[in-house]
Amino acid sequence: MLAKTKKSEKKRLLFESLYRLSVIFSGLILFIIIIFIFASGFPALKEYGFFEMILNKEWSPNATDPQFGLLYMVLATIISTLLSLLIAIPIGVLSAAYLSKMAPKKIKKTIMFFVEILAGIPSVIYGFFILKTLVKIIYDNGKYIEGVSGNSMLAAIAVLALMSLPTIITVSVTSLDAINKSYDEASYALGANTIQTIFKVDLRAARLGIMSAIVLGAGKVIGETMAVMLVSGNAINFPGNLLEPVRTLTSNIATEMAYASGLHQSALYATGIILFILIMILNYILLVVIKRGGTSDA
């Protein structure tokens, strides 16, 4: 008996250290990545200046007097992310509310089956799809306007909205399904209708889950590279016209890293640093929103 407890004690210790090691491992990886990016991007930041980099609009890394201004790309990234989320969040959350609270079981099951498949499709496929549809439509209708080639910020936004939808829907449905059914019952018993129940009770009660759906969707959107490159035109423009090409920060890294060297290469790592900071800011804003919502009524 005693020997057995000793054995189980040993096992417990073994597993405990395994868990600990796994946590340390993943933490360490993140730490190393951060160190690596910052170390590699530092020369460009030092040489060129952080604020010069985000405030200068000129990007000409191979000129005799090379310029590493990212302003247009930062703006293109922010604007395309925000606009695509502006499209994807309402559609995604409302679809989730319908699927979780209104749809008959059979319909819900069928639709969720397809939505989950969509969530797993590589984003570049969404890129193909937009390339063959929206990009073509823009080209056919606007080819005589100067600067319009089909590839555009609008197409990039469409890809981003489309590819983030399945994530937003599945995570939102899961969190709406998980809220206590007794809230629904209480609401209906008080004479509320379905719409009132969904907006006043369900979406509020599932707020945290829906927020994490949005965070996940936003993370996917801001980091997306290939699908965006495929349809955005990848030209460095001020993102003031939805029908003209733009370049995002991720596309900039992916486009030029293969042949860059020296300061140019370091500037691409610095692009990564700025992307990293953008993502941190985005997450921080979302966290604050979640927290504020959380203290008001939970």
Binding site: E185, A189, G191, A205
Partner: protein, 251 residues
């Protein structure tokens, strides 16, 4: 004495499962009617027919007539929202919304479009007083309802129901999740509420039924075995099964 609900030949099926069988019963206005019986006998299911809560369950078929206020409510076209405004419900587990105490009370009226702050304030005070909760929460109406104790939460749910100014309050084992002291408070509350409302309560506690109700219906296997004055059910029931149950010989 006036009947508020008259049920004729009520049958209910969950899919193929015949859960309520040929029920005929008339519930008295401004009285407390207790529904007793062993678990799974159909008491709660019956209760949920009275405000059409079974609408929320897929594959649930109900036949027969449920006459409320001279109208059969068991027809598709009957306005279920109007019904639920008049027939409120308190559930087994206290289920306040994850909102403030104030917002919980005004939820129902607000859904009906009431927005006048002064009227709502008055309604909150009045409802919480009627639910014997006002003195305990008047200084923290804007704190979360989830910070209240279980017994307070249940009285808040009663206040929320009262705020709709219903005729009938359905209670589905309202004290089964509460401690004895909270239970006593809710039972005292029911004493005062029955002057203004018709109360139909499902309970597992025979003592509770005996203490608070005027009429008692004994349910068994989806049928109403006996329905009479509570005094008669507990002292001199007509059916052997009823006697066995109320004296604790089975169930």
């Amino acid at each position: 004495m006036e009947d508020i609900f008259t049920i004729r030949d009520l049958n209910l099926y969950y899919g193929k499962n015949h859960a309520l069988k040929n029920m005929d019963i008339a519930l008295k206005k401004n009285k407390v009617t207790a529904l007793i019986g062993p678990s799974g006998c159909g008491k709660s299911t019956f209760l949920r027919c009275l405000n059409r809560m079974n609408d929320l369950i897929e594959n649930c078929t109900i036949t027969g007539q449920i006459i409320y206020d001279n109208d059969n409510i068991n027809v598709e076209k009957y306005n279920v929202i109007e019904l639920r405004k008049k027939v409120g419900m308190v559930f087994q587990k206290p289920n306040p919304f994850p909102m403030s105490i104030y917002e919980n009370v005004i939820y129902g009226p607000k859904c009906q479009g009431l927005t006048d702050k002064a009227i709502l304030d008055e309604l909150v005070e009045d409802s919480l007083k009627k639910a014997a909760l006002w003195d305990e929460v008047k200084d923290r109406l804007n704190t979360s309802a989830l910070s209240l104790s279980g017994g307070q939460q249940q009285r808040l749910c009663i206040a929320r129901t009262i705020a709709m100014d219903p005729d009938v309050i359905l209670m589905d084992e309202p004290t089964s999740a509460l401690d004895p002291i909270s239970t006593k408070k809710i039972e005292e509350l029911m004493e005062t509420l029955k002057n203004n409302y018709t109360i139909v309560i499902v309970t597992h506690s025979m003592q509770q039924a005996a203490r608070i109700s005027d009429y008692t219906a004994f349910f068994l296997m989806g049928e109403i075995v006996e329905y009479d004055l509570t005094d008669i059910i507990f002292s001199n029931p007509a059916q052997q099964q009823t006697e066995d149950y109320v004296t604790g010989r089975f169930g």
